[in-house]
C-alpha cells in the first residue's frame, strides 16, 4: 500500500509553481491562444429580447459577406428564447471584423413576449410565466424538525432578520470557449474547461460522434470557478461551424456574452427567525427563503436546479422549520459557483448569529464556541481570536467614536471536499527523464505543481525534473475539477504511481535503491525501451471535510458609506498540505472573491427592458489591488488526515465576517449584499433605502 513519505522535502514546502515561467512570459498557450493552421474566428448572435418567439432567422446575407466561411443556427425552426443573450446563430470568418459585420447582417424575425427579470416581480402570480407549464414561484412547504413553535416559547431571546445576497457572476478572465478542429471524423477541441472529460463526452453526445473520436486539450485555462464543466452551446456551435467551414474555428465568448449566458450564483432572500436558551445555546430556527437561478434547469447547459442552500448553516439547532423556494426569471441560468449554496447560507446564518449574540449580550466568538459542533473550528476560533486580537478589538456595536467607525466580525465554514477516481501514468526513459501524464486539468490552482512535488519527494528527484502533462483526454482519466476534489483525487494517484515506479524500476534495473542519486544509474539499465507504469487513486491518502474560520476588521465612513476592509485573518484546516505556496494563493483568492461578494458584485437586471445593465467590468465591479486588506493566513497542518481541497471553503465565510464587522462598526445591520455605500447610508438613516 502506498503511503505519504515521513520525510518530506518538497511536499508542504514553498516549492515554486511549475508552470509559472510559462505564465509570466506569454509562453503558456491557453485555449484562446492556440492557432491551428487556417483557423477562423467565430462569434455568436444572441437574442436582444428577454423573451420572444423566434419565427425566422435568415443567414443568407451574412453567409455571403466577404471573409465569412460558415453560418449556422443555434436551433432549427420556431422557438422561444427566454433570456436576453440566448444563443440564436453563429458565424465563422477570417477576421473578427468580418464576423461582426456578419452578425449585423443576420435577419431575425421575432415576436417579443412579456418577460420578468426580477425575483420580487416574478413571485407575483400575475407575472408573465417563464415556463408555460409551471408557475415562476410556488410557496414552499415548510419542513419541520422538532417542535418549533414550542421551542421558540422556551427561548430566552429570539431575533428576526431579513438577509439577502445578489446574483453573482463567475467572470473568469478567460471567457468560455473552444478552438475546434476536425480531421476527417475526428475532432480536437482546445477547450477552456474544468473538465476535459466532461467536455469530450458532451461534445460527443451533442455531435453524435463516438467519444473515442473526440480529443479535448486544456493545457492552460484562465479560470472557471464552477462555470466551465461542459462544452456549452458555444462549444457545439464552434464544432458545427468548423465542420461547415472545413477549417478550425476559435469561438471564445465576449465579456458581454460571459455575463449573460454561462452561469452565475443564485440570489437569496432569507427571512430568518432564531432563538437561544438562557445558556446561549441555539434552540429554534425558522427560515423562509427564495432566490433565482434564472431560467433554471433544463434549457441551459450546466444549469443548476435551484436557489436552495444548506440551512441552518454549520450550527446544530434542535428545532428547525425550513421552507426554501426558487423563483424563475428570464435571465441566464445559474451554474455551480465556488462552494455552491454556501456563501449565501453563511451570510444569512452568521448574520443572525451575531444579531442574536448582540441581543443576548454574548461575545460573538463565545457564542460560536457554545454552538459550533466542529472540534476543528472550535480550535480555529480560539487560535484566530488570539492572533487577530479579537478581545482588544471587539467593542459593543456602534460604539466606535468619530465619523469613521471600525468594527470586527467573524464567521465559519464547512466544505465536503474529498477525492477519488483518478489514474495516472509515468514514462521513465533510459536517460533518466520522466513524464507523468494525468487527464486532470490545472485551473490555476496548482495541480501540475502538486504532481511535481509529490513525484519529486517519492522518487528523490527535484520538482523541475518531473515533466508533468495534464489537460488532454489522451492521458489516463481523472474527474472534472469541482467541489475542491482535484487535489485529493490527483495527489493519491501520483503517490500510488510513484510507489509503483520505484518497484518497477527496482525490478527492471536489478538495483535495490533507485531513488535520488541512484535514479540515473537505474534508468540506464532499462536499455532501449522506456518504462511505462500506471497508478491510481487509493484509499487512505486523502481525506474529506474542511473547516475554516475568518475574522474581519473594517472601517466604515459614516459620511460617505464607504467600507474599507482593513484586515482578514483566516484559519484554515489544510489536511496534509501538499503545495504550501499554491495553497496559500488559493486561500488569498477565496478571501478576495468573498470580499467582492461582500462589497461590490451584483448582477443588475432592468425590469423594464429585461436586459442586463452591468455586463462588463466598468459596471460589474471586481475587487482590485487597492481594495486589498492585510490578509493573515494560517494553514492548520493535519497530515494524518491525508490530502484535502481548500479552494471552496476559503471563499465561504468572508462576506459574512465582513457583514458582521460592518454591523459591529455601525450598530445597525446592512443585511443585503453587496454592502454598498448607498445601503450603509440608508441603514444609518441618512438616505432613502435604495430600490
Amino acid at each position: 500500500m502506498p503511503s505519504w513519505p515521513e520525510k518530506r522535502s518538497y511536499i508542504g514546502s514553498l516549492a515554486k509553481r511549475v508552470d509559472a515561467p510559462a505564465k509570466v512570459s506569454g509562453a503558456a498557450k491557453y485555449s484562446s491562444d492556440v492557432q491551428p493552421e487556417g483557423w477562423l474566428y467565430g462569434m455568436i448572435l444572441r437574442s436582444k429580447w428577454p423573451k420572444a418567439k423566434i419565427t425566422k432567422i435568415n443567414l443568407e446575407k451574412a453567409a455571403r459577406l466577404p471573409g465569412i466561411k460558415a453560418a449556422v443556427l443555434a436551433r432549427e425552426g420556431e422557438r422561444i428564447v427566454r433570456f436576453y443573450g440566448e444563443e440564436l446563430a453563429a458565424v465563422a470568418g477570417l477576421t473578427k471584423q468580418a464576423c461582426l459585420d456578419a452578425l449585423r447582417a443576420i435577419e431575425v424575425e421575432a415576436q417579443p413576449l412579456p418577460f420578468v427579470v426580477r425575483e420580487e416581480d416574478a413571485r407575483e402570480e400575475s407575472s408573465p410565466r417563464v415556463w408555460d407549464e409551471q408557475p415562476n414561484y410556488s410557496r414552499p412547504q415548510p419542513r419541520d424538525r422538532g417542535d418549533v413553535d414550542k421551542a421558540f416559547g422556551e427561548c430566552a431571546a429570539v431575533v428576526e432578520g431579513f438577509y439577502s445576497t445578489p446574483v453573482q457572476i463567475h467572470h473568469p478572465l478567460e471567457t468560455h470557449g473552444n478552438t475546434i478542429s476536425w480531421t476527417g471524423d475526428n475532432l480536437t477541441a482546445w477547450s477552456s474547461t474544468q473538465g476535459i472529460s466532461s467536455v469530450r463526452d458532451g461534445l460527443a453526445g451533442n455531435l453524435n460522434v463516438p467519444q473515442n473520436q473526440v480529443r479535448v486539450i486544456c493545457e492552460y485555462m484562465g479560470g472557471g470557478f464552477g462555470a466551465k464543466f461542459g462544452p456549452g452551446v458555444e462549444g457545439a456551435l464552434a464544432a458545427r461551424l468548423s465542420q461547415a467551414a472545413k477549417a478550425p474555428v476559435k469561438l471564445m465568448l465576449t465579456r458581454f456574452d460571459q455575463a449573460l449566458a454561462v452561469g452565475n450564483r443564485p440570489s437569496s432572500f432569507q427571512k430568518i427567525k432564531m432563538g437561544a436558551t438562557a445558556d446561549g445555546k441555539l434552540h429554534a430556527y425558522q427560515l423562509e427563503s427564495f432566490g433565482t437561478a434564472g431560467i433554471g434547469a433544463g434549457s441551459s447547459e450546466g444549469g443548476s436546479g435551484g436557489a436552495a442552500f444548506p440551512a441552518p448553516y454549520i450550527y446544530t439547532v434542535p428545532n428547525t422549520r425550513i421552507a426554501q423556494a426558487s423563483v424563475a426569471v428570464d435571465a441566464g441560468s445559474a451554474r455551480a459557483f465556488r462552494a455552491p449554496g454556501n456563501p449565501p447560507a453563511s451570510f444569512g446564518m452568521e448574520s443572525i448569529m451575531d444579531d442574536l449574540a448582540v441581543k443576548m449580550d454574548i461575545d460573538p466568538v463565545e457564542f460560536r464556541l457554545r454552538n459550533d459542533p466542529s472540534e476543528v473550528r472550535q480550535k480555529e476560533y480560539r487560535l484566530g481570536a488570539e492572533r487577530f486580537g479579537w478581545k482588544q478589538k471587539y467593542k459593543k456595536p456602534g460604539t466606535s467614536p468619530g465619523p469613521i467607525k471600525t468594527g470586527v466580525g467573524c464567521a465559519g465554514a464547512r466544505w465536503a471536499t474529498g477525492g477519488g477516481g483518478t489514474q495516472a501514468q509515468a514514462q521513465v526513459s533510459p536517460d533518466g527523464s520522466i513524464e507523468i501524464r494525468c487527464g486532470t486539468q490545472d485551473l490555476g490552482t496548482g495541480t501540475k505543481t502538486v504532481i511535481a512535488v509529490i513525484a519529486a519527494d517519492l522518487l528523490g528527484l527535484k520538482p523541475e525534473q518531473i515533466q508533468v502533462r495534464v489537460g488532454d483526454t489522451n492521458y489516463p482519466p481523472s474527474g472534472a475539477s469541482g467541489g475542491s476534489t482535484t487535489c485529493p483525487s490527483v495527489a493519491p494517484a501520483i503517490c500510488d504511481l510513484c510507489t509503483n515506479v520505484l518497484q518497477e524500476l527496482q525490478k527492471h534495473s536489478g538495483l535495490a535503491e533507485v531513488r535520488g542519486e541512484n535514479w540515473l544509474a537505474a534508468c540506464k539499465k532499462l536499455g532501449v525501451d522506456p518504462l511505462l507504469v500506471s497508478g491510481k487513486w487509493q484509499e487512505g491518502l486523502s481525506g474529506s471535510g474542511a473547516g475554516g474560520v475568518q475574522f474581519a476588521e473594517v472601517a466604515v465612513d459614516t459620511d460617505t458609506g464607504f467600507v474599507k476592509v482593513k484586515k482578514i485573518t483566516c484559519i484554515q484546516d489544510g489536511g496534509l498540505i501538499v503545495s504550501k505556496l499554491t495553497c496559500e494563493s488559493q486561500v488569498n483568492g477565496g478571501i478576495i472573491m468573498g470580499l467582492g461578494y461582500a462589497l461590490y458584485e451584483e448582477r443588475i437586471m432592468d425590469r423594464h427592458s429585461g436586459v442586463l445593465l452591468n455586463p462588463n467590468f466598468e459596471t460589474y465591479k471586481l475587487p482590485a489591488l487597492a481594495d486589498m486588506p492585510e490578509i493573515d493566513v494560517v494553514l492548520l497542518d493535519m497530515p494524518e488526515r491525508g490530502v484535502i481541497g481548500i479552494g471552496e471553503p476559503v471563499t465561504i465565510p468572508t462576506a459574512a465576517a465582513i457583514g458582521n464587522a460592518v454591523a459591529n462598526a455601525l450598530g445597525v445591520r446592512v443585511g443585503s449584499l453587496p454592502i454598498t455605500p448607498a445601503k450603509v447610508l440608508a441603514a444609518l438613516g441618512k438616505v432613502d433605502k435604495p430600490a
Binding site: V24, S25, G26, Y30, G223, E584, V587, F617, L625, L636
Partner: protein
C-alpha cells in the same frame, strides 16, 4: 433649403463638410476662420484609410511585423489574431481590466483600445519581449518567486504594468504599486502577491507571510 440639399447635409462627411466650409465661408478673414482653415489643411493632408485592409508595420519586441489589416483592427487583435503574440490577453475588450497591457515606447497602454494603425512608429513591447537572452526579467522572476499568479490570464498585463512602473519609478512604495496596477484586474485573487512581487523586483526586502501550524499541537 430644398429637400435634396437637406439630404446632402445629412450624408456629408466631416471631411467634406470642412472642405465645403473651406471654399466658401472661410473667405471671411477672421482669426477664428483662419484657425479653421488651418485645421482644414491638416485634414486634407490626412490620408484616408479603409474600409479596405491596409498594410501596416508594427515594431514588436524589436522586430518589424508587416500586416495587412482593416483600419478598425485594434493593436490587441493585430497581436493576437493577425500574428502570434498571444501573451497579451483579451478579457474585457474595453479598457477596464488591463489583461491586454503592452508598452508603447515605455508607456503601459491597453492594446484593446488602441488601433493597430496608430501604434505604428512606436516601439511595442509585449510580455514575450521582456526576457533577454533567455533570461527572464527581474519582474517576471519576482512573479514566479512570490507566486503572483494563479490561472495566469491576467499575469501578462500585471507584469507589463509593474515593468512600466519600475522603469518610471524604480523604488515605489506599496501605495505607488497599488496606483501602478490600478488598471489591472485579477479574478483568482493574486493581488497580495502581485504587490509582494512588485516590491521584491524593486529590491524591497519581504518577510514571510503564511504560517503553518500543527493542529496536533493546538490546545
Amino acid at each position: 433649403m430644398s429637400d435634396s440639399t437637406k439630404q446632402d447635409c445629412l450624408t456629408v462627411s466631416r471631411r467634406a463638410f470642412l472642405k465645403t466650409f473651406g471654399t466658401s465661408a472661410a473667405v471671411a478673414a477672421t482669426a477664428q476662420v483662419e484657425a479653421v482653415a488651418e485645421e482644414l489643411q491638416k485634414a486634407n493632408q490626412e490620408k484616408i484609410y479603409g474600409p479596405e485592409t491596409v498594410p501596416i508595420t508594427l515594431q514588436v519586441n524589436g522586430s518589424p511585423i508587416k500586416l495587412q489589416v482593416e483600419p478598425r483592427v485594434t493593436l490587441l487583435e493585430a497581436l493576437r489574431n493577425h500574428s502570434h503574440f498571444t501573451g497579451a490577453k483579451e478579457v474585457c475588450d474595453r479598457a477596464t481590466c488591463g489583461a491586454c497591457t503592452v508598452l508603447l515606447d515605455d508607456l503601459p497602454i491597453y492594446s484593446c483600445s488602441k488601433l493597430a494603425l496608430e501604434a505604428q512608429g512606436h516601439a511595442i513591447t509585449t510580455v514575450e519581449g521582456l526576457a533577454e537572452n533567455g533570461q527572464l526579467s527581474k519582474v517576471q522572476q519576482a512573479f514566479i518567486d512570490e507566486d503572483a499568479l494563479m490561472c495566469g490570464y491576467c499575469t501578462p498585463g500585471f507584469v507589463m504594468s509593474v515593468t512600466a512602473l519600475l522603469k518610471k519609478n524604480p523604488h515605489p512604495t506599496a501605495e505607488e504599486v497599488q496606483h501602478g496596477c490600478a488598471g489591472n484586474l485579477c479574478r483568482c485573487g493574486t493581488y497580495p502577491r502581485v504587490l509582494r512581487a512588485a516590491l521584491k523586483a524593486a529590491g524591497v526586502p519581504l518577510t514571510s507571510q503564511t504560517e503553518v501550524i500543527s493542529y496536533a499541537k493546538l490546545a
